[in-house]
Amino acid sequence: MSDVLEIETDVLVAGGGPAGTWAALRAADAGADVVLVDKGWCGASGATAAAGTGVWYVEPDPQAREEAMASREALGGYLADRAWMGRVLDETYAGMNEFAARGRYPFPVDDDGRQIRRGVQGPEYMRRMRMLVRRAGVRILDHSPLLELLTDADGAVVGAAGQRRQAGGDYRIRAGAVVLATGGCAFASGALGTHVDTGDGTLAAAEVGAHLSGMEFSNAYAIAPAHSSVTKTAYYSYASFYRADGTVLEGAGSTRGRSVIARTLLSEPVLARLDHAGPAEREAMRCGQPNFFLAFDRAGIDPFTDRFPITLLAEGTVRGTGGIALASTACDTDVPGLYAAGDVATREYICGGFTGGGSHNAAWALSSGSWAGRAAAAHARTVADRRRAAVPAGGAGLRPAGGEGITAREMVREVQDQVLPYDLNYLRHGDRLAPALETLHGLWREARAGLADADPWRAREAAAMTAVARWMYTAALARDESRGMHKREDRPGSDPTWHHRLDVGGLDEPWTRSAALEVAA
């Protein structure tokens, strides 16, 4: 179908997870006309909607705030920034309080009858965020993947184009400002809720000249039953890990011992049993994330008494920390008119080189979404001419340079072969990363030449995953040390000369450069 839905608006938000919905809400609150496009369905898309998550919600008590900020600095390799952390803690506290009142979210209450606002359940959270966004007058286009950004003659972002999977045809939206909130990239690993997280926004941003940061911190892996998608690493802190013969796997654990599990899985099965959870914990786990138990109940497994095979599923930059670099807490990028929020943006400012838990990501999504939405609304007011000539910026997967090659599905499998194996991405070594990166460069050239697919959004996903994988390994090879979640077997230990951030960018020729730790808060 060649129908094109043309829309003109103040602010376009791409992505309808937590960051996108907070951005849309704040932009609408600021008086902007807002359109939100989601690849799937705003309210069910992304890693949060399917799960339960803690939220980095800390009372404004100086000591509690100090402890909250200090607790993760070492884990993150001292790459986080206190000024940003403080602002995220402020914004998250205010945002969750507002959500309690305005969204009427049914938080649990403590013995004194006070709401406990340190966690949310994904389905309920995102259902209510969709409701708030709609009530604020935001126009939502579901099942409408972003394909590319539009720029004016000066290179400023002036809109985006995409595909309408259910309605048919394409859309072309002219906007005063665009907020990318398309999520991280988990390489279709099968980790819960991450099928839509394929790096589409990251590629689109790089095509208009934005750069990335922290892409070496992109190798988060989560524990799941081998048959299942359901990741909930927190619950495995109650587990013992075993070999197939029933002997205990020494050194294995859900946090520090995860690399032991990865190493063992390379050659033999690993089993788990949640044998340290007492009756109270078992009940609390059911209430925390009920779908965790669907995976067991329906497979006839009692996770507290049976040993069951496990796997590690890659979560890439969804629970890594790398993404689009920001210029300030307005969440502006290198490119005028372009803002980034949530997992598509780097979270190094508050996490350094390590995330792991959901609570920081949840706080980041709310805060960066709010800031990006407000700043985008303000920027849109300064854009006088909304109809000046616009050029589509998309390349790989959209505009073949010549010839038709493999299909998008085949390309995704080939990218997965380079980024999912534990001995390539998790247990890193320069001698293994370098040939993997070479293979990825070859795949990128194929993506440029053209994919044999009729469906643009699938071709675009494949191209985006290829691009993200290349930035990831380019940065991983450049950071000549171990820090945060980036552990190089050939470079054990941290090197003080590397106590800084690492920028990465470029399409056909990826580049890296050292970057200062200070970014305007």
């Binding site: 938080f107 359940q121 099968g190």
Partner: protein, 135 residues
């Protein structure tokens, strides 16, 4: 993956077609929605959560259930009380208390924080030297 749309329970409201984040279902004017692209299913259980008549069943397997599996058999699943089970847990549906009222995620976040031993400071890291190792 999604395996069953209950012939008996489905009222053709089309909500599953809307809410599926990976667009697995196709609407059909003259029949129940169909599972048109099962291989795109990410086993997130959200269609089950949103189905107002408890008509959907998502198997726990991240791949398709084998031919003849009870995970594909509506009668056997109904006997085991699988339809609507997830909605019951999250407290969606008329007259139910939202499951989020019983949420205990914060307990596990705190536990993780307590379990994670402080990492040795990065050798020679300027910040680490200045501020020292943390408790």
């Amino acid at each position: 993956m999604i395996e069953v749309i209950s012939e008996a329970r489905c009222i053709d409201c089309g909500i599953c077609v809307d809410v599926c984040p990976t667009n697995v279902f196709d609407a059909d004017e003259h029949a129940h929605p169909s599972i048109a692209r099962q291989s795109d299913c990410q086993t997130c259980f959200l269609c089950e959560a949103h189905c107002p008549t408890d008509a959907l069943f998502v198997s726990p397997l991240s791949g398709p259930a084998p031919e003849g599996s009870p995970l594909r058999d509506e009668e056997s699943l109904a006997r085991e009380g699988r339809f609507g089970e997830y909605r019951g847990w999250i407290g969606w549906g008329h007259g139910r208390t939202p499951g989020s009222r019983n949420d205990r995620n914060q307990v596990f976040t705190l536990r993780l924080r307590a379990l994670r031993p402080p990492e040795p400071a990065a050798p020679g890291s300027t910040t680490a030297e200045k501020e020292g190792p943390r408790p």
